[in-house]
């Protein structure tokens, strides 16, 4: 670059080459912070690939004028743009090319102007520009650059100002875009743009060598990471009104005048276009007044009015589902840390209770009332709790059905049968059918010395039960488990899930599971910590 701070086309290219190298260094970090609009972790990669395509074309420019190179870059960016951030970046190049029209070289103020054009083009490219993204960053950086250019024409000074403004703007993105705040990150596209501008600045400063061993700065979020507090209800907030969009076609339309007139009529106003065609976007409580004004200016086209309060309710309804999106809630009774976790992981609400501690109807009712869904299925998982669950039915205005599961495996099988896209009654019958397909094996200790169905048991001897009926008595719990399975017809069965209880060591459970696996190689045998009291093993055979 010459002393006057004037940049030729060749230097423009080299400047972006430096920016590309700089960006490349932080691609993994930028990818990792990508949560908006789709959290797919590729913003950095997309921007890098877009820049590479841009540069490739820059080398094919017909001449070395700043305009020639900028136009070639625009073409390259447009053809090579990848992803949302890439497309926005390509619009920025487009603006740059427009701002530099017909110049062999450019200085600071031309660059500031080009940045503003780029910002405008980027905003115009989107039907719904969202603040707190790369858009806000280009806007604030270009504004700062423009203000600086009024003081001093030096490119380095102007770029330095733009970089600082971009950094502040990136840090501020989480306060503008809630999804960033929730994730505790800054906007990935904004960070990418800041890195690109910063890379350019390094080039202008003649810092190329230092760039090799330095790392680009990753901007930290100014907002504290928001923990998962319950989302506040928007019910009391003021209404959003109507999202109103239309085009005005006319002669000598005055953008500024129209913008000024509509400003007081609502929020999120966007007025873009030229004197022949203007695109209006506004959130207003009175779309009629906006359209009336619009029609006084020209012919209206593409009128679109959406009730945003409906959309917001829709959004809340769907985001409520983050806890459980099923239209039907399942409330179940279980004890044991592991079993409770299994039920929760499958989306059920768990009321503590079981064999020796039956929950009351009121305890069940409390949970039924607490879940957001209006339709609830109750799974008691114990014969003694079924009547209590039936009793709870009469105490609520919600539509509640009891599927009379008598064991934990039955409860889990019922939960697996839940179809998210089916209604309550079909689900109840599907669950009842699922229960009939499952056999429950339990290993516990006899409470007294007795003889049932030809099986003699001593008090405290390990015994095996099949669906509640005494089947075997053994010397050890492991032996009782193996004996009870041996006596069963496992033909046509596919999955065996063994939940080991409180009194059983993990190694012991693993040992017996391994033996079972070897005895029944065709079965899918899974061992899960149940942590249930009283029962050493509870096994689901399906």
């Amino acid at each position: 670059m010459n002393k006057a701070g004037v940049c030729s086309g060749r230097e423009l290219r080299e400047m972006f080459e430096a920016a590309t190298t700089w960006l490349e260094k932080s691609v993994p970090e930028i990818d990792a912070m990508n949560v908006f609009p789709v959290p797919d972790g590729d913003t950095g990669t997309n921007m890098l690939l877009t820049l590479r395509a841009t540069l490739e074309e820059a080398y094919r420019a017909p001449d070395h004028s700043a305009t020639g190179v900028a136009q070639a870059m625009t073409h390259g960016a447009l053809m090579g743009a990848r992803g949302n951030s890439g497309v926005i970046l390509s619009q920025i190049f487009r603006g740059l090319a427009q701002g530099l029209h017909d110049s062999e070289s450019f200085g600071g103020s031309e660059f500031a102007l080009a940045l503003s054009k780029g910002s405008d083009a980027a905003y115009k490219a989107l039907t719904h520009p969202v603040e707190g993204t790369i858009l806000t960053v280009i806007k604030e950086a270009s504004r700062a650059a423009y203000a600086a250019s009024l003081q001093n024409d030096d490119l380095e000074f102007i770029l330095q100002t733009a970089v600082e403004a971009a950094r502040d703007s990136v840090a501020n993105t989480p306060s503008l875009l809630p999804v960033l705040r929730e994730a505790g990150v800054v906007d990935a596209g904004g960070q990418g743009l800041y890195t690109i501008l910063d890379g350019m600045l390094h080039y202008v400063k003649g810092d190329l060598e230092r760039m090799e061993y330095l790392q680009p700065h990753i901007v930290a979020s100014r907002e504290l990471l928001q923990t998962n507090l319950p989302t506040l209800s928007a019910e009391d907030e003021e209404p959003y009104g109507y999202c109103t969009e239309f085009l005005i076609e006319g002669e000598e339309l005055n953008l500024d005048k129209i913008r000024k007139r509509l400003k007081g009529k609502g929020q999120c106003l966007i007025v873009v276009g030229d004197e022949h065609l203007i695109h209006i976007h506004i959130h207003t409580l009175d779309p009629g007044a906006v359209l009336k004004y619009g029609s006084s200016q020209g012919i209206l086209h593409g009128i679109k009015i959406d009730n945003m309060d409906d959309q917001h309710k829709e959004f809340r309804r769907s985001s409520q589902g983050k806890v459980s999106t099923a239209p039907i809630a399942v409330v179940t009774v279980a004890s044991g840390k592991g079993i409770t976790e299994v039920f929760r992981s499958l989306g059920a609400e768990v009321v503590p209770g079981g064999q020796t501690m039956n929950p009351s109807a009121v305890e069940l009712l409390e949970v039924v009332e607490r879940v957001p869904q209006d339709e609830v299925i109750l799974l008691p998982n114990n014969k003694n709790i079924v009547p209590t669950a039936q009793q709870a039915l009469g105490l609520t205005s919600k539509k509640v059905r009891v599927v009379a599961t008598e064991t934990v495996p039955q409860g889990i099988a019922a939960l697996f049968a839940l179809r998210y896209d089916d209604d309550l009654e079909s689900n109840v019958s599907a669950m009842a059918e699922a229960i009939s397909m499952i056999t429950t094996v339990e290993v516990t200790r006899a409470v007294r010395t007795t003889q049932i169905g030809g099986v003699k048991v001593r008090k405290k001897q390990p015994i095996g039960l099949v669906d509640g009926r005494l089947a075997v008595a053994g010397d050890t719990t492991s032996q009782a488990l193996q004996d009870v399975l041996r006596g069963m017809d496992l033909e046509g069965k596919e999955v065996l899930t063994i939940y080991y209880g409180n009194g059983i060591k993990e190694t012991e459970a693993e040992e017996v599971t391994e033996q079972i696996r070897q005895s029944y190689p065709y079965l899918q045998v899974e061992l899960v910590f149940g942590g249930q009291p009283h029962y050493h093993y509870v096994v689901a055979v399906e």
Partner: protein, 289 residues
Amino acid sequence: MSQESRVRVVTDSVSDIPPDIAKELGITIMPLYVRFGTEVYRDGVDLTTDEFYHKLIKSTTLPTTAAPSPGEFTQLYDELAEETDEILSIYLSSNYSATYEIALRGKEQMKHKDCRVEVIDSREAIMGLGLLVIEAAKAAKAGASLDELVTAVRAMIPKVHVCMCFDTLEYLRRGGRIGRAQSILGSILRVNPIVGIKDGETVPIGRERNRSKAIERLYRFASEFSSVSTEEKVVSLAVEHASTPEEAGRLVERLKPLFPSVPIYISRVGTVVGTHVGPHVIAVTVLEA
């Protein structure tokens, strides 16, 4: 051949339309991109499906996907505009990808202003999109006008039903495309999730304890559309798989007697969707009449 059709039909590679059918019906397919690190491949063009799944299993870096650029759409539309002045393009749900938005932008920059281009967000993916496009292409070949096609496609969108089963939702979760189906994640037990596509996004349908039960669920899902007079009820069906052709074949054989006069397309889940669903997905799609 396709020269007879006045309206040209365009879709993207996520439609999973088998190449021979696309060729026969004159459907133009715009490839999306799949990347492993900075290696970039065009979906179904630079990397065969088999090579992709092999790479997906072997590679330590997970691939990512990207939509084509606006310029690529402009170029494609302008090329087609040399032969026709009406183009119907139908793309995958805008909830999954920016393809639809970018196609709109590409359309704006066309040189051939005299060529009318309609761009439709199908709210679907895989053969849910594919079956729509196949029907549109058949109608276009039979001489339907662009307006008729747009109306017909919009009317068909609510009648497409997709049901997929997975070994894991991990790929979908990592790719950020899980939508409301995230509620069936995180189970302690081994689970084969069953999901569908509704209103443009992935929704949970249910889960099964093993793969054979999950495939049984797909069979039941399709069989519910079968009736005595199946011809009136169902237009077409599709069964598609990522890397398990025998399994898909067996499912098709079981479905045939239920739908004796309905075409059942067998297809392969392409690389872009494969990136998000993993190598063991199997899906059934039904297009109701």
